[in-house]
Each structure stands twice: as C-alpha cells, then as structure tokens.
Symmetry: C2
Subunit: 367 residues, 2 copies
C-alpha cells in the first residue's frame, strides 16, 4: 500500500504515542479525488439531487475510504471482542460475570442476536477472547487472552500499560489477518459483563464530561444501582487520575482488554482502507482511544446507531460522527453495526447500479 | 379467511362509507393472543429484555398482524403506483410531467432507486399505471389506467367520485391478486410529477393543518415556487371545500389516481393479514384516506421513515405511527419502505432464530 501520510491533517502526535507508530503509519488520508467523482456520479443518477439523504453521503464516504468509485462490499465481518472486568464485583451490572463466557458459547452455536443480524447482511461473525475470566473457552473462539479479566479500577489501574498496549495490538492484528484474505466492511462489537462502567470512565475523561452525564443503565440496572455505578466511575477516575492526552494511560487505568482490542481494530480498518462501523457505547469508548492515538482514524468510521446508553451521544460528538439509526438499541455484540451494514450496502449499490438521467433517457429537473 | 370484525374497535362508519364495504369486511383485529406469546418469547431470548428496542416491537407487531408466532417473510413486494396531475401545470414541481412516463421505463429497465433498494431486500417491484398522462406505457407496467392525469384542482375537482372509487379498487385488486399467490410483506410507493401538491391538500384537510404547515419542496423547488405551491393548495381547498369525514370526497376533489390506489392497497394488505410499509409523503396521504375509510387499517401499517417533506410528521401522528428511519430521504418510489424491509426482516429473524436463555444455558439477569 502506498501511503501519503499528512501529519498536519492527521494530527501531530505526542512522544507518548510512539508506541503506536507501527499501527498508524499505514493510515492514509481518505481519497478526495474519488469523493469528488462519486459526488458527481451520485448527482447524475435518476433521482432528485440529494433525495436519498444520508444514504448518498454514506456511499460517497465509502468511495473515499476505499479509493474506489464503484466499491464492492462482498467481504463483510463482524468482530466481537470479549473481556471481563474486575469492576463487575462492585455490582455495576444486572448480570453475573459468568454470562460473558456463556455468551461466547452462544455466539459459537449461532444463537445470539449478532449471529442472526450478521446473517441477515452476510457478515461473518468472528469472536476473539482478549480477557475473559474463564479457561473454559469454546475452541472456535480466537484465543488472544491477555489476562483473566481486569482488576477493579477502584483500587488502582485496571491493567498494566504493557497489557493495555498488547490489547490494542491484538485488535489490530486479528483484523489485519482477515484483511489479507479480503475485507470490505468491518463491524465491531463487544461482550463483557460490566463493560459499560469502564466505557463511562473512558468517555468521561475523553469528552471532558462528568461521570453522571455519561453513565447509564447498561443491561438494565435500577435507579439505586445507577447511583452506585456513577460513584464507582467517580472513584475510578479519582484514584487513577488518567491523563486524557495519553490514550494508553486512560486505557490501562480505567479501560478493558476488549476495549483496547476494539481501538486497535479501528486502526487496522483505517490502515487497510476499510470502512469500520461503530456499534454501541463500548465501541465508541474504543473509538475514543483510537481517535486519541490517531485523529485521522475517524474518517474511516461510520456511526451505526444512537444507543439508549447515556454518554453515547457525547462520544459521537467528540468523534464528529452522526449515527444512522435511532432504534433504542442497547445490546452491543455489534448488533447495531450489523443492522447498519444494510444501509452502507444499499448506499453503495445505489452508487454502483442506478442509471444516470442520460442512460435512462429521463429529463433532468430544473433545479 | 375467518373474520371477527369488531365494529367498536374498527370505528363506526358513516353511510357514505358503504361504497367500501367489500374492501373493509375482511379486515380483522390483529391477533392479541399471538402478540402476548411473541412478547413472552422475545423476553426469553439471550439478550437483556427490550435491548433490541424498536426491532423487538416491530417483530411482535408482525406476529400480531400475521397471526403467526414465527412469521416467514419470503414473499416481499414493492408496488409503485403511478399517476399524473393536472396541477403540475401550475409550476409546483422542479420536473416536467413527461418524467412520470420516462421513469416508468426506468423502473422496467431496473435503473431506478426502487429497483436497486428492492433488490437489496429481495422485494419484487411491481409498477401499476393508474393515471399516467401518456399512452406510451412500457408493456411490463400493469395497465389499470383510469384517466390520462387528473384535472387541476384549482378549477374544480381533480376527478369524479366514481373515478376516485375506481382508483381505490385498483389498488385493492392488484394487491389482492398478488396475495393469492403469496405475499408476506408489502411496501408501497408512488410515481407522479406534482404529486406532493395533492398530498399536501389531503394532509391539510385530514390532519386539520394549515396548507403552509404541510406543504414542502417536493423534488426540490425554490422559496418562491414554494410560496406559489402553498397558494395552489390553499386555492384547491377553497374552491373544492372537501369534507374530511368523507374520504372519497377528499380523494376526488384534491387527490390523485395513484393516491387512491395506494389507499386501496393498504386495505388489501390489512384484509390479507400482511404488514404494509408506508414510504414518503404521498404514501402517508394515501394512508390518511385508507384510515378515514377504516381506522383499523393503521394496525397493519409500519412507518418506514420520517421524510424531509414538511407534513409527513403530521400524517404519521394522525395515524399513530412512529417511523423507523430518519435519513433525510425525499425520493418516494417506495425506496424508504424497501430500506425498512430489512429492519422488519431483521426483527422477525430475531424472534424466529435466536436461542432462549434456557436453550443457550446462559444465566438470566437479575432485573
């Protein structure tokens, strides 16, 4: 791949980001010339200009990302990164920690929502264990386990700085490997009981918000548990004092293994000119880490939906992204990303397959 | 089909609605028992309760409409009803009237947006000429032409009461015929240069709104043309004084042939226990006519998207429907309905194919 890395555009990195150099050096600026050409073609098709709204913008964005005027999206993948969280012991979730590993089995038997929704768009589901607190992992899960769950961030860092970097590298590597065999559209997802709590901590520090503004009910806790969850996030930030200019400091102190892997997956998508769909709150927390590592990565991201989870909106705003769907989803696993793949595919098919006014012999409009 | 018509629920009809008796007698109440069973099954699946938001409600609604706990949506159809409008001569559109028939050819050659988006969801596109102002209609278009365009409603009624009734019957009949061979999900669409103008007139009278509140830019007119378009709608209502309690009076005086056919298509969908997807502003105008004929028909409707067109929201509100998508669409043809078919299919697949907590051996949550 030929790269034309524009440091002014892509942001000037601090010294503490040298650790990511091998993951960011391949990220180009998206192709402005193709964007212009795709916009012109879109306006020549037999419909009033702009009448397909966000679908048109989406197709043009994918053209710019892929560098192709007629992108093909034959190879779609949904990656589900899984990890456990020491902070789950603080009673922040409606579900016991054992559900994480039980759900891995459900993914492999194709009984979960991501299997059904991935199947609807022809997206292959890949499950990666980055930090599940169990040794009873189904064989088809990719084994990249760094540790058996994080430590609770209320007592100090969730993980070491080395392990945080390793988690980002895992996400980068597994996506890179698939890209070598063909990857046109990537959806990211998470599994990890308790993982909205570190996501709230990351979102608070990265969007400069108060914990209460970006902490929600996760899988469905009550009002009292929500107050306790907010207190846990506040305590984590107070104890650890993460530095927002140092993404690895934030990830290691208040993050999670699957969140680091998700961050790395964005970087790999961008490095391979692949559009990457965000999902719910955990994937936007990962996106905030990736964005702090390399701001240019946001140009390769597509926000699939606006979740019920408080804080999702602040994350999207920080990333400069406008979500496609608003269906009150709050499941995770990459389900919203899979749903939105249909919109991406539809927009691209419009760009590729519709007739122009000239081809169809239709009179162009007066305005 | 066994019918249990509940007149209290379905609304008491006035004498002037006897003309529709053969089209409304087969419309049942949706199946409450199946709705309860589908809701219970949805809550037993391996996800936090309610975490798939509107997708869950959608699947439960489809179960109620079809009367099936495991609905199959193998046979999808997108109907595009076409007609021309005398009022187009008043300069209300950015496109010349000849575009209506040119687009029919484009539909048949599969070069239009509805062809591309229908193809993405496996929906067959059927085009019906109800009132196009041309004799040069492509052979594959279903010929149900009632007249060569309406008269301009600024000089009196757009059509006769008999022709208005005939247009509703056309829509009913063509859908009924397809239903006999297999129809599981129906999307409605329109083609007709100038047809946002009669749609604004219908929406104004049926939602008790001022013309300026429900008249928009259609395919893309400028500010001055918009002011003139509003004046045209005001004039049509002033000249014709349509009676909102008499849907055939409204349709004949300020409607259009394709709008009448769309109204009939909703009734046929409901009579055959088929969920029917609305599209843009013209299809909600048809829905308001159908709803005035038979209020119970709204239970069979699914609002696909919230259009850019001013007035779409007032129509949805009157129908008690909450649109699924908000993508700044304003194309028509049934394109939004086709996009939303993916969400309907996805919701139904979740209901049919996901594992329960028990089947998957996953611990249920505490709340």
């Amino acid at each position: 791949m030929v790269t034309f890395c524009n440091l002014t555009y892509l942001g000037v990195r601090g010294d503490n980001l040298d650790e990511f150099a091998d993951m960011t050096s391949e990220i180009d600026r998206v192709d402005g010339e193709i964007i212009d050409k795709a916009s012109k073609r879109m306006d020549s098709l037999t419909k009033p200009k702009g009448s397909l709204g966000q679908l048109e913008r989406l197709a043009i964005k994918v053209a710019g990302i892929t560098g192709k005027l007629n992108p093909s999206l034959n190879h779609k993948y949904s990656f589900v990164f899984a990890g456990d969280h020491g902070v789950a012991a603080e009673g922040v979730s409606a579900y016991p920690q054992e559900v994480t590993v039980q759900m891995l089995a459900n993914f492999i038997h194709e009984g979960a929502a991501i299997n059904v929704l991935g199947n609807q768009v022809g997206s292959e589901v890949v499950v990666v264990d980055v930090g599940v607190a169990s040794d009873d992992i189904p064989p088809s899960v990719i084994d990249e386990k760094i540790n058996r769950g994080t430590d609770s961030f209320t007592g100090g860092p969730a993980m070491s700085r080395e392990d945080a970097l390793a988690s980002v590298k895992v996400g980068y590597r597994v996506v890179e490997e698939v890209a070598e065999t063909g990857l046109d559209l990537l959806g990211l997802g998470d599994m990890g009981i308790g993982n909205t709590t570190p996501s709230s901590a990351i979102t608070a520090i990265m969007t400069d918000s108060k914990p209460e503004e970006v902490t929600g009910r996760g899988t469905g806790i009550d009002e009292e548990s929500l107050r306790e969850k907010i207190a846990v996030v506040e305590e984590g930030l107070e104890v650890n004092q993460p530095d927002p200019t140092d993404p690895l400091d934030v990830l290691s102190k208040v993050g999670g293994y699957e969140i680091g892997a998700i961050a790395g997956a964005y970087l790999a998508g961008a490095a391979n000119n692949v559009p990457v769909l965000l999902d719910g709150f955990i994937t936007t927390a990962g996106a905030l880490i990736a964005h702090a590592i390399e701001p240019g990565v946001a140009d390769y991201m597509i926000a699939s939906h606006n979740s019920v989870e408080r804080g999702h909106e602040a994350a999207h705003e920080k990333l400069g992204l406008d979500p496609l769907l608003d269906l009150n989803l709050r499941l995770g696993e990459g389900t919203g990303a899979a749903l939105a793949m249909h919109l991406v595919q539809s927009g691209v098919s419009v760009l590729n397959d519709m007739y122009t006014f000239e081809e169809a012999g239709v009179s162009p409009g007066g305005s």
